[in-house]
């Protein structure tokens, strides 16, 4: 699905060409245009509310990339990814609030980036812990253990123990000035947007490069048939755990990023709904495709916002609709997933690929 059609009469002449990201000048200019739009046009045009929607899309993309790696590329079903995002968030929060950073690091503004990396590693190791059962079980049983991960981590450990540290009660509020990278304090939606953009691009580059290396091929082999993968000499357990680690690492970074957008971190942000939401995003976007993550995230967040906008005017006449919007959203989310899985089981990425190849070959159908 990822291969591109070259224009008529053009051939790769070196291996470097064949491995390049942007294979033709047209694609290159298209992507550069996209980057210009993302970096310069959107931040200047969009206002506060729209900015927050973009940030939410970015957060969903980051979270769903990890799920996509586990489900779409390694075939390890997970319904507990929210737990690892929570671990990332809480590790960073705890490090920022409680850890005695040396003054020089605080002055250089390195405490947030450093804690982000530590959060990634901690979340990765935590994810490996709950990935261990994958050595013996798969499919539905793995879903059960990852669900257990969600309940144990968020509903028990974080709510009952970690939230109590320092006697702050349920929510940890982070002083705004502590979230800074170097000299830049991340205190507005626009700055969060830039941080999100850089992270999304970095992680997508990392993940796509990983996926076309030996590791990625091993993951895909395990997804397609784990027994044949083992017969071919792939160390299945090692690569499964590696997948869990990388997914957990991405989740940790995601969680750590998201606290820059939250005024206070509390367990409510990481309920089971988040895990389901992320899986819903990749199923709607299409499993086994990074495009799918992006399409799915945009689609889900924008649809939910449209729903909110649609409900709000009705709220004046029917106040119950406005006050119980959350329930309508839940219900709508459920219905959306059902409908997509029933009528578009390959996801939006497949549809995108069809459209693209249609126009590549246009006006001839073959």
């Amino acid at each position: 699905m990822e291969n591109t059609y070259l224009p008529c009469g053009k051939y790769h002449q070196t291996y470097k060409d064949e491995h390049s990201w942007w294979k033709t000048k047209f694609i290159k200019s298209k992507m550069i245009l996209l980057l210009i739009v993302l970096f310069f046009v959107i931040p200047n045009v969009a206002q506060g509310y729209w900015m927050s929607i973009f940030n939410h899309v970015g957060y969903t993309i980051l979270g769903a990339l990890g799920v996509q790696l586990l489900i779409g590329y390694c075939g390890q079903l997970t319904l507990g990814h929210g737990a690892f995002i929570a671990i990332g968030s809480y590790t960073t929060t705890m490090l920022l609030l409680e850890f005695p950073w040396p003054q020089i690091i605080v002055d250089l503004g390195l405490s947030y980036p450093l804690s982000t990396i530590i959060a990634g590693i901690v979340a990765g190791l935590w994810s490996v812990l709950f990935g261990l059962p994958s050595a013996r079980i798969k499919g539905f049983y793995l879903i059960l253990t990852t669900m257990a991960a969600q309940f144990i981590t968020v509903d028990f450990l974080i709510t009952q123990y970690i939230s109590q540290i320092g006697g702050r009660g349920q929510a940890f509020s982070i002083p705004g000035e502590s979230i800074k990278i170097g000299p830049w304090v991340i205190d507005s939606n626009t700055k969060v947007y830039y941080l999100m953009l850089v992270l999304v691009i970095l992680i997508i580059i990392m993940l796509s490069n990983l996926l076309r290396s030996r590791v990625g091929r091993a993951w895909i082999a395990i997804r397609d048939n784990d027994i044949s993968a083992e017969v071919m000499g792939i160390n299945v357990l090692k690569y499964k755990l590696l997948a869990f680690f990388v997914a957990g690492f991405i989740a940790g970074i995601t969680g750590s990023f998201w606290i820059s957008n939250l005024s206070a971190v509390s367990p409510e942000h990481f309920e089971w709904f988040l895990s389901l939401w992320l899986v819903g995003v990749i199923l709607i976007g299409g499993t086994g495709s990074i495009h799918g993550v992006i399409f799915g995230s945009i689609f889900m967040v924008v649809t939910m916002e449209l729903l909110r906008m649609g409900i709000q005017p009705l709220g004046e006449t029917f106040p119950k609709l406005a006050s119980d919007f959350l329930y309508i959203r839940d219900s709508f989310f459920g219905l959306l997933i059902c409908v997509f899985l029933l009528y578009e089981p390959n996801g939006m990425a497949y549809r995108w690929w069809q459209i693209k190849s249609y126009f590549n070959l246009w006006p001839f159908s073959y």
Binding site: L79, R136, I137, Y141, L144, T145, A148, G334, L335
Partner: protein
């Protein structure tokens, strides 16, 4: 010792309820291979329907019957609209459809009935405790257990002795063979969903009598998972045993471990137990071991 006995008895009685709902779950899995995560919302729907009718003045038994009828209709509709088309799809797709369904139902329930706790008024069971020797428990638990037992017996008899039940057993055993002797698989799927919906509804109604009914009663639907994993996914006796064991385990954790931890261990313990149990015996006590070949 008294505490121990009391915990045990209450655990068994609560476990009877879990067994009832687990039975519905296993039935769906056995007959149609669907791993259902919407069980909790199915209990909620049944419970809210019977509560609404009971509070309107309908006798309790009659309101349970009404909720059974509505469960039957909804079960058939759900199967026909959503799950009929999913036969042969990957595991994740089927599971996510049931998750989607559960959110769909839950949203509707929360919207219609709000999240406040509702009580069966006037109370059906007296709050006078019953004493048997040193063991004290409230009447609700006893009746709940008896009702669950009666229903379990009815279901088992249904499978053993009626034509429909035998057809369902045959489909669960070997779908191809069942189709070739003229059993309609679609009928069996619908029947499985209808029965599961009804069992869940009664389970929810009974549980709602203990502490009042609110959205957290739907947690029962998740508790079913440890129970069925323990018994093996496709074993009906396994589901009953698993339900009772999980009930006992939960009560013991509540009595003896809660003092050592913050919050309630009761709600987490079944899942911890399940995660550990899966490591050692992934196919449960009586489940079929699946042998895989390349």
């Amino acid at each position: 010792m008294e505490l121990f006995l009391m915990t045990l008895v209450q655990g068994i009685m609560l476990g009877g309820l879990y067994a009832l709902v687990s039975l519905g779950w296993v039935l769906i899995y056995k007959c149609s291979g669907v791993l259902n995560l919407a069980m909790g919302e199915m209990t909620l729907i049944g419970a809210y329907v019977s509560l609404t009718f009971y509070n309107m003045g309908v006798p309790f038994i009659l309101s349970i019957v009404i909720s059974l009828v509505i469960g039957l209709v909804l079960g058939i509709l759900t199967e026909r609209i959503f799950l009929d088309k999913l036969i042969g799809e990957p595991v994740l797709t089927v599971i996510m459809v049931t998750v989607g369904l559960s959110y769909f139902f839950r949203g509707i329930i929360e919207f219609v009935f709000t999240t406040d706790t509702r009580l069966f008024t006037p109370p059906i069971f007296s709050i006078e405790p019953i004493r048997i020797g040193p063991v004290i428990f409230s009447e609700v638990f006893l009746w709940t257990f008896i009702a669950a037992l009666i229903l379990l017996v009815i279901f088992v008899a249904f499978f053993k002795f009626t034509k429909w039940g035998l057809a369902m057993q045959a489909t669960a055993d070997d779908e191809m063979a069942a189709l070739s002797i003229g059993i309609s698989a679609r009928f069996v799927y619908s029947a499985a969903w209808a029965i599961a919906f009804m069992a869940a509804g009664v389970g929810g109604t009974l549980l709602g009598n203990i502490n009042g009914l609110n959205i957290s009663v739907g947690y029962l639907g998740l508790l079913v998972l440890p129970a069925v994993v323990l018994g093996g996914l496709n074993s009906i006796p396994g589901a009953i045993v698993g339900g009772i064991v999980i009930g006992i385990l939960q009560n013991f954790c509540g009595t003896y471990l809660d003092q050592f931890f913050r919050g309630s261990v009761k709600e987490i313990a079944p899942f911890v137990f399940m995660a550990i149990f899966l490591l050692f015996k992934p196919y449960g006590l009586w489940g079929w071991e699946r042998i895989e070949r390349v």
